[in-house]
């Protein structure tokens, strides 16, 4: 079918609905928008979803955004849409793409601009039955002892050279200089809790000032802490 790219940012979700016509099932719960859909697509777009999830995706511009992702220079294989995909800034939330070095682009939009917004899993080994009665008290204590949100300062306050050392070295600095954690912790954090080549002098003073109060807190916005129960282990070595 013919399709003209939108000429403005006010593109309506009607385009997403028309994409349903060209979404071809290629496997159970996997649908593909082929490269032939639009001339600037470098790879196809593939969506993992059932019929209801696909219907929900047509309510916003996420399918169109996923097609736009397929045009990124250096993209390989396909742009993928997860079952919870929804509209984001340019890149859909729940969209996945890989670009190939050396000339593939780096897209901050692929992570919603939340650089290093990550997940930490702490395993306790405590059985559910053993703490069931005290869970409300435990949740209350966690909310008291783990500062979160703007206005709740952490116990750690680093300025100037100390802040720069933290930004440069990462978690190893906290362990070495402040006794926060033990070296074994670094093995359980992505990239050891630090990025090689990080340069604190590339971070503006305003950015450091804005982040200062959130240091040592859970953060603000949509950050959260929750207690989970492990029902089953699917990958024993990884677990």
């Amino acid at each position: 079918m013919a399709f003209s790219p939108p000429s403005s940012s006010t593109f309506e979700s009607n385009a997403s609905r028309s994409m349903l016509d060209v979404l071809a099932p290629i496997a159970p719960l996997v649908h593909e928008i082929p490269r032939s859909f639009r001339g600037d697509m470098r790879v196809p777009a593939r969506v993992f979803a059932d019929a209801e999830q696909l219907s929900q995706m047509t309510r916003d511009r996420s399918l169109l955004q996923l097609v736009n992702v397929t045009t990124l220079p250096g993209i390989i294989d396909a742009a993928y849409g997860m079952p919870d995909m929804h509209e984001g800034y340019g890149f859909p939330v729940g969209g996945v793409a890989a670009t190939l070095l050396p000339d593939g682009v780096i897209s901050p939009g692929g992570i919603g601009f939340d650089i290093n917004c990550g997940v930490r899993l702490l395993v306790s080994g405590v059985e559910r039955a053993a703490v069931a009665a005290t869970l409300p008290a435990l949740a209350h204590e966690l909310s008291r002892s783990v500062p979160t949100g703007a206005g709740r300062k952490g116990q750690l306050s680093l300025d100037g050279a100390a802040m720069d050392a933290l930004l440069t070295e990462g978690v190893s600095y906290l362990i070495r200089a402040h006794g926060q954690g033990v070296p074994e912790d670094m093995g359980r954090i992505e990239a050891g809790g630090g990025l090689a080549g990080a340069r604190a002098d590339c971070v503006s003073d305003r950015a450091k000032l804005r982040g200062h109060e959130q240091l040592g807190t859970l953060g603000s916005g949509n950050h959260f802490l929750e207690i989970e129960v492990v029902d089953a282990v699917f990958d024993e070595p990884a677990a």
């Binding site: 703007a150 206005g151 916005g221």
Partner: protein
Amino acid sequence: MTPLVSHTFEEHVGEVRMRVDAPSRAELLAEAGRALAQLSVGSEELPSANESPETVELQAIDPTALLVDWLNELLFRSETQLKIFVEFSFDRLADRELRASMRGVRVDELRTVVKAATLHDLEFEEQPDGIFATLVLDV
């Protein structure tokens, strides 16, 4: 008919979309600032200012960018000082620059922390009877 100064928060899948209407640019900027303050305290009722005035000077490439930069300056000061701003006056306001004085009040916490005012789907239209702007706030 001169439009009233107003703002509304519209439905958005993951962020906050805000529409602001005003008869002039100065009133639009002030109303957008009050809207941010309402978001911050989670209430339509805003406390009175009791802090000393602060001055803001900004330069941008056009009136639209000036609006976004203005809101991001308010967000920065609000978060770093734990303060909301509720009174605004403009000593100078042109297409690409402004000088404003504003007063605020300190708060214990920010109920909604807005990361940034964005250029995404930004609408800014000046008509003979007033101005409206629609912005997406990254929360």
